[in-house]
């Protein structure tokens, strides 16, 4: 069960090698989390992540999960929930793609959309159903500021996150009053493997900062969390810029 501060005792991470997710897991293990499930494609990286978290004192198990195989989500995630209550699901999988390449390779672009959006729709609904049955829990969805307004430089990724973001907001409203809390997290540029080598955007942040914002959001039962918080104002302004101006921005 979550305590009065929204801190979970059990955590299911979808996308078990995500650096943001692992930073969040480390932070929550230091508080109350004792049981962690890492769901992801079986890989040495997933096992290594599990080992690291075990070193912090948590009981960690991995489960095979592929965002691109939605037909298998019900079974894979159903097994996890059958083992006991999950207080928090962190939906953290996603891929950035390679915008320039993907514009020329529609199949690759579709994979980005399928991973980030349709995969999350399927996994999100499966988890939402299970959480609703247990009558409590938080579904924390890692969205992105990129979904707030599509940019020339990464609109394939951005559009997939826009879909995910809208889905998660609607899901949160649908689950209002069921004891299940849905929180959309919108980080800006986060320094991780996924963004390594990319030019850094203003207000760049770290996985640890996102983890701290997630903990705070859980305590407040927030529905939307921006990381860093200043992005809320920045994006609110950018959202209203005329297209012609927005297009010319060096972002």
């Amino acid at each position: 069960m979550k305590d009065a501060f929204g801190l979970p005792q059990s955590l299911l991470v979808l996308g078990g090698t995500s650096e943001i997710a692992l930073a969040t897991a480390r932070r929550l293990i230091a508080r109350r989390t004792r049981t962690v499930w890492l769901a992801g494609r079986p890989s040495p990286g997933l096992d290594e992540a599990a080992g690291q978290l075990r070193g912090l004192g948590a009981d960690v198990r991995t489960v095979a999960f592929d965002a691109l195989d939605p037909a298998a989500h019900e079974d894979a995630l159903g097994k996890v929930f059958a083992e006991g209550d999950i207080d928090m699901v962190l939906l953290a999988f996603g891929t950035l793609g390679d915008q320039a390449h993907d514009e020329r390779d529609p199949n690759a672009a579709v994979r980005v959309a399928q991973t980030n959006y349709t995969g999350a729709v399927s996994a999100g609904l499966v988890c939402a159903g299970a959480l609703q049955t247990q009558g409590h829990g938080s579904l924390v969805v890692l969205s992105s500021v990129a979904g707030e307004r599509a940019r020339r430089a990464n609109f394939i990724y951005g559009s997939s996150k826009a879909g995910l973001d809208a889905f998660a907001q609607g899901l949160g409203d649908a689950l209002h009053g069921t004891g299940v809390h849905v929180m959309v997290v919108r980080p800006g540029f986060v320094r991780t493997r996924m963004t390594a080598g990319l030019p850094e955007a203003p207000l760049a942040t770290t996985p640890e900062a996102v983890a701290a914002a997630v903990e705070l959001g859980l305590r407040r039962r927030a529905e939307t969390v921006w990381v860093p918080g200043a992005l809320r104002m920045v994006m609110s302004a950018l959202r209203h810029l005329p297209r012609g101006v927005f297009r010319r921005l060096p972002v």
């Binding site: 247990q134 009053g177 305590r219």
Partner: protein
């Protein structure tokens, strides 16, 4: 019997979870509800005054027991009452005071049920004299997981597991309670101020035995030499001859009148109770208390239940809710109490409802909270930054001193510390495993703390 899936919280309004809320009107309906409560079990709930998650059951059933609210029999000569578990102490006072009887123990609110009073094994300002509520229970009827209704009497393992057992042994249906005789419905109250914590503890230790009821409001925002300054209010039921002749009170000495202000509105924002506002309140509260006054006549609500005058006062903390922290450390561990008070004061926790009390003998319930020593209770807004970690540190201090925190108020204890705080926990778990192997009786509290 209505059932509805609704979000449920405790009085602190933190950690809402959804449950089917069922309101049985007969014992038969209660038995049906327990039989049909499903895989996630059920738990009895009274008036929802437990601060944390004791009367919540995510995804399962919550039995609202306030529909079972009959007072069956009063022995006006012997001083006992037999009533349903859903009867509130408020109702008992209304019924009993005109007959010259009072409830044996009342907490800081009258709006608790008899079932909840036993389940949490509540204590009051008279603990140092009278012990906890369950010490005055002569027998109770318990609906257990197998559907049986058992008569449970003190001295048996099932009674000792049920008293303070947070509803996890079954659903209490009725109880027979021994009462306290009174001549009037007024209290004769002595008030005095203590300059600091040492002064306060000395006064409580030296003169508590003269009073049936004793408690101290403590200013946890006072710093430096004033750390732990307090106002002591102690007293007893006023005898008839203490009432001035010719007054209305003298003509009608047993009348029980209560008045309530309008309820706190539901839209109050976060942050009303800040260090500034609470500091100001505490300063005023301390200054307006007389340095020493004896024999003041107060009405029962003013002495025991001042907050009951404002319905939904818990809304003052805003939508983020609040956490109540109550612990006890034994006699001889005053050092731990001093350290904790100093830390709270240095931390500037905005707490305006902090009380310190000396407990008497421990009570027989396996999970009953009181042990002989000092208990401090305080309310803190849940949104205070860093509060979770700070309270964890206080837990370590409390557990290190052999103390414990009160389950009826808890919403955040680390489960690992529970066994150290409650040595009879293993017995409790064993009894539950035997009596209720499928864990029909389950609450968010029992899930969180692995009770």
């Amino acid at each position: 019997m209505a059932a509805d899936t609704v979000p449920v919280t405790g009085w602190g309004r933190t950690a809402p979870t959804a449950a089917r809320l069922i309101r049985p009107r007969t014992y038969g309906e209660a038995a049906l509800a327990v039989r049909d409560c499903g895989a996630r079990g059920g738990i009895a709930r009274g008036l929802g005054r437990a601060y944390g998650d004791a009367a919540q059951n995510a995804g399962g059933a919550v039995l609202d027991m306030t529909g079972l609210d009959r007072v069956h029999a009063i022995d006006a000569d012997g001083g006992t009452v037999l009533c349903d578990a859903g009867v509130s102490l408020h109702r008992l006072m209304q019924v009993l005071l005109p007959l010259g009887w009072f409830v044996p123990v009342t907490p800081g609110t009258r709006y608790v049920t008899v079932g909840g009073a036993i389940g949490a094994d509540i204590h009051g300002k008279n603990h140092h004299v009278s012990g906890s509520f369950s010490r005055h229970v002569l027998s109770l009827e318990l609906l257990t997981a197998d559907g049986d209704v058992r008569t449970v009497v003190p001295g048996t393992p099932l009674f000792e597991a049920t008293a303070g057992g947070m509803g996890l042994t079954g659903v209490i249906l009725t109880a027979t309670v021994r009462l306290q005789p009174v001549q009037t419905s007024l209290m004769s109250v002595d008030t005095e101020r203590a300059n600091d914590l040492d002064d306060l503890m000395a006064r409580l230790a030296d003169t508590d035995h003269r009073y049936r009821y004793s408690v101290a409001w403590i200013d946890l925002l006072a710093r430096g030499r004033a750390t732990g300054r307090a106002v002591l209010t102690r007293g007893d039921h006023a005898p008839l001859d203490a009432l001035p002749p010719g007054t209305r009170a003298r003509r009608d000495p047993l009348s029980f009148r209560t008045s309530r202000l309008p309820a706190a509105p539901s839209f109050l924002p976060e942050g009303l109770l800040s260090r500034t506002t609470v500091g100001l309140f505490n300063e005023l509260w301390y200054r307006r208390a007389p340095r020493a006054r004896t024999g003041q006549l107060q009405r029962i609500p003013a002495f025991f239940h001042p907050l009951d005058g404002v319905p939904h006062w818990n809304r003052v903390y805003g939508p983020g809710g609040f956490v109540q922290y109550q612990f006890v450390v034994g006699h001889g561990r005053e050092d731990a109490l001093r350290r904790i008070v100093r830390r709270i004061s240095e931390r500037r926790c905005p707490s305006f409802l902090a009380v310190l009390k000396r407990f008497g003998e421990a009570d027989p319930g396996w999970l009953s909270f009181p042990v002989p020593g000092w208990t401090l209770a305080l309310d803190i807004p849940a949104a205070l930054p860093g509060l979770a970690g700070f309270l964890d540190e206080l837990d370590e201090e409390v557990a290190g001193a052999g103390g414990r925190v009160y389950l009826a108020k808890d919403s955040r204890l680390r489960p690992e510390l529970l066994a150290a705080m409650y040595p009879r926990l293993a017995d409790f778990r064993a009894l539950r495993a035997e009596l209720d192997p499928r864990a029909v009786f389950t609450s968010d509290l029992s899930r969180r703390l692995h009770l």
